[in-house]
Symmetry: C2
Subunit: 359 residues, 2 copies
DNA sequence: TCTGGCACTCGGATCAGGAGAGTGCTAAAA
DNA sequence: TTTTAGCACTCTCCTGATCCGAGTGCCAGA
């Protein structure tokens, strides 16, 4: 410990009160100005009545423990990832949303709540990006638990049948089945009735094995119609498995172009390509899905090189008390956390509410 | 006509042989180099055995009639939109695709041909962007003629009903309707049966007016169930109209970031926003849908300010002898037309072939 | 333990000068 | 009459020099 000042870091490695205060004002100023903060300005703004020289000493200490750094000798200081981390974890004073904002959000989300759940998620993503002027993301939950609600078969031509499968009482999937022979409308109706009676309310993943079972038995003792029905169910379920695309909805990517952090076209391109490929982003979102409350990845913390100058603020949302998905905001590391965090938090709560009308 | 040389522009306003040749080499060089072309280089590369001084004279003429311009006094010449136009219309020597390229294209397109037609269009768009390293677009044909095939109502909870409407025997749309009271499963079945009996095979656009008619009559003499059915049909069709999304598929936008023409972040952002809003692009594509063969919009010719430094090369594709859609490529005005044109042309032909398996 | 003072460092803006590329014009050559 | 060579001129781009301001680090004194 080459420093003379004991006050900055105490024996347990904790920052002194005033060092924290200084770091806080530094980060706050840097977030609004975007330029390195000098000792004079800090001494004025911190509200601590310390001379610039003292501030400089403390800054030197903060630099030593990796909370700030200076871009070059005669520039002010800039927070490091660690500095942001401490700021976000301990120093931040959250600015709660105005009740007006909340009402607006609520209004827009509830407007969509009745309809298609995918549309609701898309709207939510739009809202996030609109409110924060950054990029909004909402993960589309992959349903492990899909309940069979209803199936319907419509004869097309040439042995082709359009199968419409409704799951979870609202998600509609349709497949074209190629069958071994023509079926009449009545035959199809019977098959559908049979399947609906047997399967309604069941979990699709459990149905698979049952269908396999019945297919074997069918060879022996079931009549032709039932065995056809089972085969159709098999075809429907199999293809519905394929399209279980893990996915996420992104909005307002173009907002990110405004930030100088991304004025480098190459970085921007890499970022957009990453968005398009989806893999990395999905992986990152997955990590947050089962976390407790608002999660924040600052800069390199995310572990993805393209996100080095960016931060990701997420919060999970729930369907029937299960954290099935996550929503959030992607923006420059230098973002207004005190505003973004409550926005993300509240949006997650409202989305949860919209998705769980019963409660 | 202050020029002494008569040779450059003849009496009918046509360019002399060698002026054309020079313009051609100028455009060709500019396309590969991206920098203003000087008289010395032109004199060497044109194959005309003219001294730089002569070339300079001709250049002055070409500048006067608006074919080329110089960015500043002591730079070489650069083609104007008019120059590109003449080049593309009259001077271009198309470089046909190698048969290997054609086979590859064919292979990839036919691979998708059996399945979902939207997936096929998406693949096509990918191929275009991959081959040209620019952005690929494919318009999704809007169906003017949507035939009502079948409707199905499923009761959810709280007066909400899931309506599944099948059109054209394969396109499924689903809507959640909010009704004035709860309906039993049987009631809904009756309503669906009634509507299907009345409407199956009819054109949806014609149905609208009919529904309005019947709604008026219903007030007086129809029973409650029929009038409910009509109201439901109205709700279904109204919402299906909304989602009759005219659309297009875009691929490889990020390729555009590589070009210096778009190194300006603001322009880039405007462009991407335009892509997202879809309106302008759709309008542009619409214009090309019914054109004969390959269409090219160079720079400002498109009429959209965001596309000022870009060119659009398109070709329509057909379904049952109707030009229903258009595909193309968007890239910098300074693009390798002699390569892009055959690619777009061939892709349109292959897509047409893939969409019309009967022939 | 804090503060004032001072030398020092660095980045950014501004300016001048020179090199290079290419032109336009004129006068001579073909 | 058309082409060419020559030459002065213009403009961009690069480089180096200089200056200014901001902010630091450190030391000595309060």
């Amino acid at each position: 410990m080459p420093r003379k000042q004991q006050a900055t870091v105490n024996a347990e490695g904790q920052l002194s009160e005033r060092a924290q205060q200084l770091l806080k004002t530094l980060v706050e100023r840097y977030i609004v100005e975007g330029e390195p903060v000098g000792s004079r300005q800090l001494s004025r703004d911190s509200g601590l009545d310390l001379s610039p020289a003292t501030v400089r000493n403390i800054m030197a200490d903060l630099e030593e423990i990796g909370m700030v750094r200076s871009p070059h000798t005669s520039a002010g200081r800039v927070p490091t990832v660690q500095g942001y981390r401490l700021f976000v974890d301990a120093l931040l004073t959250v600015r709660p949303l105005t009740s007006r904002d909340v009402r607006q959000l609520q209004h827009k989300i509830l407007e969509e709540a009745g309809g298609d759940s995918k549309a609701l998620l898309a709207t939510t993503s739009d809202l996030l990006s609109g409110l924060t002027r950054m990029a909004g993301v909402v993960s589309v939950p992959r349903r492990e638990t899909s309940q069979w609600s209803h199936v319907e078969f419509l004869p097309l031509s040439d042995r082709r049948v359009l199968a419409i499968l409704v799951m979870n009482e609202r998600e509609v999937q349709n497949r074209i089945l190629h069958l071994d022979r023509d079926y009449s409308r009545d035959e199809l109706q019977i098959a559908a009735n049979y399947l609906n009676a047997e399967f309604a309310g069941r979990d699709v993943s459990q149905l698979r094995s049952r269908i396999l079972n019945e297919m074997q038995q069918a060879r022996q003792n079931m009549n032709d119609m039932m065995s056809s029905a089972i085969r159709m169910a098999d075809a429907v379920i199999r293809s519905s498995g394929e399209s279980a695309d893990p996915d996420y909805l992104l909005a307002g990517e173009t907002n990110l172009m405004e930030f100088e952090e991304l004025s480098d076209i190459d970085k921007l391109r890499q970022l957009f390509d990453t968005f398009k490929q989806k893999r990395d982003i999905l992986h990152l979102l997955d990590r947050c899905t089962h976390a407790e409350g608002v999660q924040i990845y600052i800069g390199e913390e995310s572990g993805y090189q393209v996100l080095d100058d960016l931060s990701v603020v997420t919060a999970p949302y729930e369907v029937s008390d299960d954290q099935v998905g996550v929503l959030g905001v992607i923006g420059p590391t230098r973002m207004a956390y005190e505003r973004v965090i409550p926005i993300v938090d509240m949006t997650a709560k409202l989305l949860t509410a919209a998705l769980n009308p019963r409660k």
